[in-house]
């Protein structure tokens, strides 16, 4: 099953490689991994999207918790949560397609953030499924480049991951 694991990690040089190394050494899957500083400069926040059987997920969380650099960990998928990913997408936008793409982008609440005679660059956020659906909806349009940020997540309600 797909899981979103959120971590607070010591903001140390080796922390990221320890976590990446754990996944490769033990053969766990990573769909995406994001990391950024937090308002507390000693901590980074990481979001890992992974998948595996319940038994493997249990091992992943235990092994992550065992790393000295991992301060807190939560499996967001265990409760109600919000999941978002940012995508930047460059697409050929000429003649008939120009209007069509703009309309599609509006439907998906995307924003056109850069324009040339021949291209649009669109910014769009949402859960992974929505971004996938947008790419699919573009159909036979000529997509030049796609950049996805990887997933960020946060729990719904009053639950929070902090010290």
């Amino acid at each position: 099953m797909r899981r979103i694991i959120s971590l607070l990690v010591e903001n140390e040089a080796g922390a990221l490689s320890r976590i990446a190394g754990l996944f490769s050494a033990r053969g766990y899957n990573i769909e995406s991994l994001t990391v950024a500083p937090t308002e507390d400069e000693t901590l980074s926040r990481m979001t890992i999207v992974t998948y595996g059987s319940d038994q493997i997920i249990e091992q992943i969380t235990k092994q992550l918790n065992k790393l000295i650099d991992v301060v807190r960990l939560v499996d967001l998928t265990e409760g109600r949560h919000i999941e978002r990913e940012l995508m930047l997408l460059k697409v050929t936008a000429e003649r008939d397609y120009r209007e069509e793409i703009k309309r599609l982008s509006d439907i998906f609440r995307g924003r056109i953030v850069d324009v040339t005679d021949k291209t649009y660059t669109i910014e769009i956020t949402g859960p992974v499924g929505k971004l996938d659906a947008f790419i699919e909806a573009l159909g036979d349009a000529d997509v030049i480049e796609v950049v996805r940020s990887g997933v960020s997540g946060i729990a719904r309600g009053e639950r929070a991951l902090r010290l």
Binding site: E10, A13, G14, S17, R18, G21, A25, Q55, E58, Q59, K62, Q63, N65, K66, I68, D69, V70, V71, R72, L163
Partner: protein
């Protein structure tokens, strides 16, 4: 007063209570070596190869319970040390390894003798540090000792760039340390403990299976009282030998690939299994699909990640073995249930039947020296009280099977990584930790060559180790597998061009004795141990064709052991007793 980084290293070790440090100098470590020269609180033991330093520190830790300390230089000093770090990591041995590094400004430049130490060691340490400021040095050392020796212990590496060891700052060694992301659990959950006790008291075919966690956690007393109070059978893993007295009638012997028939059958047929400080390693469980099919498993471990990793556990208990077993015992006593020895008498009858196969019997009439006999004679001569460090191979299994360990920390071997070359340097660490005790190194002619250079260290520091070389002119364990599974194609397992070990030992300044008749075995060992002040290399010319029995082949279950073929020679080599 301000101290240099190098002086801080030495002062911190001193204030941590370290007495011995195993090392080898080199460019990046020279400031630290200079600081060592100017003090006498720590004894530095100069090994002959950095692998030897790590194994010696490891042996020291296993025998004393205190973290072993290593100091090596950058680059090749570190890469040579990696085998020993990985060995300690696999067996959860507390160790602090100080590695010198090229100066901060040169890191990343492919400087002379630079390797990415933190990167190379990352997968085989509990944690590692690169020190970036001299002000962080003392605290980092404090943290390293704390991490290495608490929770599930393990090696910690501290990489120290040379310039940091020259810079100065105020020194004070922290008394305590708090790491916000690291809080090992000590006591088990009372509800789980109660559930476990209920299960145990209601079982009719219980089995207690314990490992290195008992030794590392110093829980042998709690284990022994629990087992005796319940009257339940107990088996130990290779790493757990000595955790329960092997001469006790409740002890079933070692389990696993070369465990006794009764231990493995009891594991297979039990209805409730209490597993403490173990990790359900593949050499213990055999084929997981066939592992103990009808049991409810209670697993006590200080490391949550080892619970439920390989087998499904009904009652997980995270905590240290000692406090958890003590809490179980207390509950059992408070329930006043003392009907158990009666209730499981049928189970004991079954176990005694398995015992009657005498799976550790061997040919005592042989004209050539049987390796098992050498180990039994070693036991006799040392009254079972020696520290026995072992290398890796058949001799290791025979030492485990035939030297009945009644005490903890006496059996020193590389179980997880299986590192040939471990034995001799580990024995050095043991002897330094226990200068007045008998220390034996059980080895094979292939293993001993892997760290033979340490004979020189033994000379320099007067370490009177007794080397018990079971010389079968083969990498015996490899040969055994080739005999069983490769149709006797003995590919590269014959040890050709062996040295004359007696001369070799003598050239290092020790004594050597070659023994090739069974009648000379006991007197030779007795004589060797009567010489308290010298290392003696006993080279036993043993039966080349002897195999380690019983055996569970890979992929088989505990109920599919091969017992020893009968001595008549008419039975097929392997007899199946499913």
């Amino acid at each position: 007063m301000k101290l240099t980084g190098a002086e801080i290293v030495v002062a911190s070790l001193r204030d941590e209570g370290v007495k011995h440090i195993f090392g080898y100098p080199g460019g990046a470590a020279l400031h630290i070596y200079d600081a060592l020269y100017k003090q006498d609180a720590l004894q530095h033991v100069l090994v002959r190869h950095e692998q030897g330093a790590t194994h010696a520190a490891d042996g020291y830790a296993r025998a004393s319970g205190k973290p072993g300390v290593v100091l090596v230089t950058s680059g090749p000093g570190v890469t040579n040390a990696v085998t020993g770090i990985a060995t300690a990591f696999m067996d959860s041995i507390p160790m602090v390894v100080l590695t010198a590094q090229v100066p901060t400004g040169l890191i990343g430049d492919d400087a002379f003798q630079e390797v990415d130490t933190v990167g190379i060691t990352r997968p085989c340490v509990k944690h590692n540090f690169l020190v970036k400021r001299v002000e962080d040095l003392a605290l980092t050392i404090k943290k390293a000792f704390f991490i290495a020796s608490s929770g599930r212990p393990g090696p910690v590496v501290i990489d120290i760039p040379k310039d940091i060891t020259a810079e100065t700052t105020d020194y004070s060694y922290p008394e305590t340390v708090d790491i916000r992301s690291y809080a090992p659990v000590c006591k088990g959950h009372p509800k789980q403990i109660a559930r476990a006790v209920d299960l145990l008291l209601d079982s009719s075919r219980p089995c207690i299976y314990t490992g290195g966690g008992i030794i590392q956690g110093g829980a042998e007393r709690e284990l022994t009282s629990l087992v005796r109070t319940l009257g339940f059978p107990c088996t130990n893993t290779l790493m757990g030998l000595g955790g329960y007295p092997s001469s006790d009638p409740l002890f079933l012997g070692m389990l696993g690939m070369h465990g006794t028939y009764e231990a493995n059958m009891a594991m297979y047929e039990c209805d409730v299994m209490l597993a403490v400080g173990v990790r359900f390693d593949d050499r213990v469980t055999g084929d997981l699909k066939k592992f103990s099919p009808n049991s409810t498993i209670i697993h006590v471990d200080v490391d949550p990640s080892s619970i439920g990793k390989n087998v499904h556990v009904e009652v997980p208990i995270v905590g240290e073995a000692g406090p958890v077993l003590a809490a179980m015992l207390e509950r059992i006593r408070s329930l006043k249930r003392d009907d158990k020895p009666v209730a499981i008498s049928k189970w004991w009858e079954k176990i005694d039947h398995w015992r009657s196969y005498r799976s550790l019997d061997y040919d005592r009439q042989s004209e050539v020296i049987k390796p098992q006999y050498v180990i039994e004679s070693l036991y006799k001569a040392t009254k079972g009280e020696a520290y026995v460090a072992s290398d890796v191979g058949q001799h290791q299994m025979w030492a485990a099977q035939y030297y009945g360990f009644d005490n903890t920390r006496r059996w020193i071997n590389s179980g997880g990584l299986g590192t040939m070359g471990f034995g001799l340097p580990a024995a050095m660490g043991v002897q330094l930790a226990h200068p007045d005790s008998d220390v034996a190194c059980v080895t094979g002619e292939a293993s001993i060559i892997m760290c033979i250079q340490e004979l020189s260290t033994c000379k320099q520091y007067d370490l009177p180790i007794k080397i018990i070389n079971l010389n079968n002119r083969y990498m015996g364990m490899v040969r055994q597998w080739q005999e069983f599974f490769y149709d006797r194609r003995y590919s590269h397992s014959y040890m050709d061009a062996l040295p004359d070990f007696v001369n070799l030992a003598e050239s290092f300044g020790h004594s050597g004795v070659r023994v090739d008749a069974p009648g000379d075995v006991e007197p030779a060992i007795k004589e060797a141990f009567s010489q308290k002040d010298r290392l003696i290399f006993l080279d036993f010319i043993t039966d080349q064709s002897e195999n380690v029995y019983p055996m569970i082949a890979s992929g088989a279950g505990h109920n599919e052991m091969h017992l020893k073929p009968s001595s008549s020679g008419e039975v097929p080599l392997e007899r199946e007793l499913a």
